[in-house]
């Protein structure tokens, strides 16, 4: 047994210089393995780094957005929106469209002889509205003399607000049927993500105003009853 003790001591004396680097190597190996491998610590670090960067970018976007928002003249923008809503209303305005057609007829000297809705004659039952509740289409009949007067009538019609689209024209024997579509679009919810950049509206209102220059809007949105025209075609 004493021989064994001597042999072990000799072995230790011979290799003890390796113990320190091996020990350090093992510590590094194990701790690195834990950091990079099993504990996801490294992955978590990189993910957190990405998250912080994304948040910083979002903060920058929010600051930029807020700076623009605080500069906005809300009253002016509401007025601009009002002009646009006048051109394309937020709700279907049957009386408004009727009034436009009647006014166009008056301006062109063409008497309106009647108006029909797509679901039947003006004044049809309420259930007829469901047949075509989204579109606002009316066919108006006018008494005219010649193609020049037809041109005047259509010119006046197409220069009125709210905007309308002429879909069909049938002129024959001193009478013209004009099928028009009243344009409307609801004011839906358009606000998206909180950091979504604001739309570029600078100059937008002026551009629209230029496009609508020369257009005439009715002072009061109300139908004028003349002849067989009734206020609600549905």
């Amino acid at each position: 047994m004493p021989n064994n003790g001597v042999a072990v001591r000799k072995l230790w004396e011979r290799w003890k210089w390796v113990a320190y680097p091996v020990g350090v190597g093992v510590v590094i190996w194990v701790s690195l393995g834990w950091l990079v491998g099993s504990s996801d610590a490294w992955q978590s670090l990189t993910v957190r780094q990405d998250e912080v960067r994304e948040q910083q970018e979002k903060v920058a976007r929010l600051k930029e957005k807020l700076a623009v928002m605080t500069q906005v003249n809300l009253g002016q923008e509401k007025a601009n929106l009002g002009i646009m809503v006048e051109a394309i209303p937020a709700v279907k305005q049957v009386p408004g469209l009727l009034a436009e057609l009647a006014a166009a007829g008056n301006a062109a000297g063409a008497a309106m002889a009647g108006v029909r809705g797509t679901a039947g004659d003006v004044g049809a039952t309420e259930s007829a509205v469901a047949v075509n509740s989204q579109e606002l289409v009316l066919t108006a009949s006018f008494v005219v003399t010649d193609i020049q007067q037809v041109g005047k009538l259509l010119t006046d019609m197409e220069k009125r607000l709210p905007l309308l689209r002429v879909r069909r024209v049938q002129f024959s024997k001193g009478k013209i049927d004009v099928e028009v579509e009243g344009v409307w679009s609801p004011l839906g919810k358009l606000v998206g993500e909180v950091d979504q950049p604001l739309p570029e509206t600078k100059g937008l209102a002026e551009s629209v105003k230029r496009k609508l220059a020369g257009f005439v809007s009715l002072p009061v949105v109300a139908a004028t009853s003349s002849g067989s025209v009734r206020e609600n075609p549905f």
Binding site: L45, K63, T155, R165, S172, A205
Partner: protein
Amino acid sequence: MAGGVNLLPTKEQKQVVSEKIDGIVRMVTTGVLVSYIVVLAGVAGWWLFLASREKAVSTEMAGLELDVKKLADVEAVLRQEENRAKLITGVLGSRIETATVAGKLASVPGNLAVEAWSWQVGAGQTVGVVASSAGEIEQYAEGLKTVFPAVEIAVMRKINQVWEGTIDAK
């Protein structure tokens, strides 16, 4: 054999070399260990920095979001404005101005009057005229070609001494 040179290293010499190697190994190992600890400390520091930064940015972001939400009516108006401007531009850009079409018809040279006119969006138009001869109708059709690119006489017939013509134009 007496007086020969012994070239084998002595035990002391071996001991010196061994201690020298041992010292180098210790120094290198210590250097690696210290470097590793420094790197590890750096990573830990970076971790702590990110954690504190994340908290700060998160707090700032929450405050900004609240401020933006307070001005939601401003955003709503601007978005509605943009949307409606697009709609207006779309309608004005896409609709066919029938007044222009009717104006072109009225400007066609000749003495013939347009008796009938049928136009439908996407389907072209048909013009009806009445004349005293077929030649007049053909002449009118030629006149139509000056304002419309595609003109074709669809029907031409004589009824009770009067010529009627139906002309398709696009």
